[in-house]
């Protein structure tokens, strides 16, 4: 009798599920926070194991060059967020914004969301991807509404309705892809397996694939937060607990974009389909410029960084739309850098909002003199996210622009305009938040700094030096993406 072979993907998925079930029974929030960290750590270990040995691909799950790094990134940000969350929620309990019962619910939802995202990343089945993204979305909706204030419920409701419409459109697109495949591959699960679809892509019905991609782009694009389907995103970021904002920006947007990339690969592998690049370029540039203008009128600090996420998702979609080895390379790098930087920013913003007791930008001043360490980490984060050297975001944005200049200078000028606009807005706000006479509470902050430092140092190192293996991986995946 042979032992069933060990499969890191299944182990990883089970860890989150078991943790979610176990967390439902832990009453003391300190223990549940620790259990949450432990589960996230185990998930990270299994994710790293995937680099070492990959299980064989089946009709439901796969690990390949494209997704292993996203799984690892997901697990890493999940771990740091769980550590940040442990120090964040203690404060929320003290101020009475959350009760122990809700906290238990929050931890269960956190692990369920991680499970949904990991399932979406490892799924080899276009139906399973859809179900997994729906699960991840539902659990974030629950967490967004957890404060149960007027605004939080409104945000959760808006997210719910727009997310549901998005998910409906994505399902229609998925059904059309299946229809395109069924006459070539045959009925059943095989025609929904992504590896099968890619293998037979050239023989699939091109006109059906075209129309399917439009639905998928609109549907998953809603989850990515592309304008004009972005309306849920700022509210959801601003009204939910900050750890949720960090994972939303850092991970969930990436997961939805990853699903789109998988479909783009199928469409690109068929010679008779339209070039989907211009569609993505239009949506990407539109989001970038729109969000850059919107950044100027923000009064709420979390809402501002939510718009900055829309802006970055716009850049990334633009980069993938331009395509080519360099464009895809830049897009992948930007995805990684943005997710690390933006979650670090949300970690520090979370502490800032707690210590000042407000999210209003006008009420937060002189942070570097009242809380030097917190203030300067926020400054570093904003410098990084606005694409200044020496941080990694500079590298990736530079690559996006140079690859665009080589192929379509007019579009590159537009993108550069959007980036400069956003840069101006962020610095305008940063100047008043970080410097000048301090206002508001000056209480000391009990922050856990190391998640922030870990993220920012990764981004900083990537700005100076990329290990050869990593560059090779990015190049390899970029060539897969076409």
């Amino acid at each position: 009798m042979s032992m069933p072979t060990f499969n890191p993907i299944i182990a990883l998925l089970l860890t989150s599920l078991v943790a979610a079930a176990a967390l439902a029974f832990v009453r003391d929030y300190r223990w549940s926070a620790r259990l949450n960290i432990l589960a996230s750590f185990v998930v990270l270990l299994f994710a790293l194991l995937l680099f070492h040995s990959r299980p064989p691909v089946n009709d439901l799950l796969l690990a390949d060059d494209l997704n292993v790094v996203f799984i690892a990134l997901n697990a890493f940000v999940g771990l740091t967020t769980s550590i940040f969350s442990a120090s964040y929620i203690g404060h929320e309990l003290e101020t009475g914004r959350l009760t122990p019962g809700y906290l238990r619910f929050y931890h269960v939802m956190f692990q369920l969301m991680m499970f949904g995202m990991d399932l979406a990343l490892t799924a080899n089945n276009i139906g399973l991807i859809w179900v997994a993204i729906e699960l991840a979305t539902l659990s974030t909706i629950m967490m967004v509404g957890i404060y149960r204030t007027h605004e939080a419920l409104e945000a959760a409701w808006k997210y719910f309705i727009l997310g549901s419409v998005g998910i409906a459109l994505a399902l229609f697109g998925t059904i059309l892809v299946y229809l395109a495949a069924v006459s070539t591959i045959g009925e059943g699960m095989g025609a929904m397996a992504w590896t099968n679809l890619l293998q037979h892509a050239a023989m699939l019905d091109p006109s059906l694939l075209n129309i399917a991609f439009v639905f998928l782009l609109l549907g998953y694009g809603t989850k990515v937060g592309l304008a004009p389907m972005h309306a849920w995103l700022p509210d959801a970021h601003a009204e939910g607990p900050t750890p949720v904002s960090a994972v939303l920006s850092g991970l969930l947007l990436n997961v939805a974009l990853y699903a789109l990339l998988r479909f783009k690969m199928i469409v690109a592998a068929n010679p008779d389909t339209i070039d989907v690049g211009p569609l993505m370029i239009t949506l990407g540039l539109g989001s970038l410029i729109f969000a850059a203008f919107m950044l100027y009128r923000r009064r709420d600090i979390k809402r501002m960084f939510a718009y900055s996420s829309i802006e970055h998702m716009g850049i990334i979609t633009f980069a993938f739309g331009m395509g080519g080895p360099l464009g895809n390379f830049a897009g992948l790098l930007q995805m990684t850098m943005h997710s690390l930087t933006k979650s670090a920013i949300f970690f520090s913003v979370g502490h800032v909002a707690q210590v000042k007791g407000t999210q209003k930008i006008a009420d937060i001043r002189g942070l570097t003199s009242s809380h030097p360490l917190l203030g300067w980490t926020l400054v570093a984060g904003v410098v990084a996210i606005s694409g200044l050297p020496p941080f990694g975001v500079f590298m990736s944005e530079f690559l996006v622009l140079t690859s665009a200049f080589a192929r379509a200078p007019a579009l590159a000028v537009l993108a550069a305009f959007g980036l400069l606009l956003a840069f101006g807005a962020l610095f305008l706000r940063l100047a008043s938040i970080a410097f000048g006479e301090p206002t508001g509470a000056a209480a000391t902050v009990r922050a856990s700094y190391w998640p922030i430092f870990a993220h920012l140092s990764f981004v900083l190192i990537a700005g100076f030096y990329m290990p050869g293996a990593m560059t090779a991986w990015f190049q390899n995946v970029a060539s897969l993406l076409k």
Partner: protein
């Protein structure tokens, strides 16, 4: 496939589009809920027919879920909610009926033209099914856009979902369709419970906070 089997499947799908049009001009909530019930009933019949002609017994599960949950339980819950929240006397001022109907006709023409053109290679049944289901989906979106009330938005969403299930069952042997219909039912149950608990009356803007505080058993 016999021509009669095709005709009956086609009839159900066409009837769904027709009922979607009926939703467009209902400006009172209780009749709108009745139309939703009819919509789901037609879908259940259509799915059961597909299960019969495709010889896919698992589709009967989807048909039963649709019949029991979406045609009976949810409409009943919505009806009670509307009466309790005192919404049944309100007339919802939507975009003018004439204009909405014209837009609806335009959307159906669009989806027919688009879908029949791109599915040229598929069988007649699949082509008609997909074209009609896209019409149902687009009409559902139109309902969601032209309504302000949370309940009628949910009804619009449910009709979109009915269109998706129609497409999924029409696509030959699509796996996971039963699971997807269950997932959707859970989603809708959540939405309905959410509206009920939080008394969300209108799209995004009004939540009756006082009712909410009473529900929590505390007042600020």
């Amino acid at each position: 496939m016999s021509p009669l089997a095709f005709d009956i499947a086609h009839m159900f799908a066409g009837a769904l589009v027709l009922v979607s049009f009926m939703m467009l001009y209902q400006d009172r909530l209780l009749p709108l809920i009745n139309v939703l019930s009819l919509h789901s009933l037609l879908l259940a019949l259509s799915v059961a027919w597909q299960a019969h002609i495709q010889e896919k017994p698992d589709l009967y599960v989807t048909a039963m879920i649709t019949l029991g949950f979406k045609s009976i339980i949810i409409p009943m819950a919505l009806r009670r909610m509307v009466v309790r929240m005192g919404l049944h006397r309100e007339i919802e001022v939507a975009v003018g009926t004439g204009l909405t109907m014209l837009l609806g006709i335009g959307l159906v023409a669009l989806s027919m033209d688009l879908m029949l053109r791109v599915t040229a290679a598929a069988s007649a049944l699949v082509r008609e099914d997909v074209a009609l289901s896209l019409s149902v989906v687009l009409l559902g979106l139109l309902i969601m856009v032209t309504r302000r009330n949370a309940v009628s938005q949910v009804i619009g969403f449910m009709s979109i979902e009915n269109g998706l299930i129609l497409a999924g069952t029409g696509a030959r042997g699509m796996p996971l369709i039963v699971e997807i219909s269950i997932a959707f039912s859970i989603l809708i149950a959540f939405i309905v419970i959410g509206i009920f608990l939080f008394r969300i009356r209108e799209r995004f803007d009004t939540v009756d906070l006082q009712a909410l505080d009473q529900f929590r058993g505390e007042r600020r």
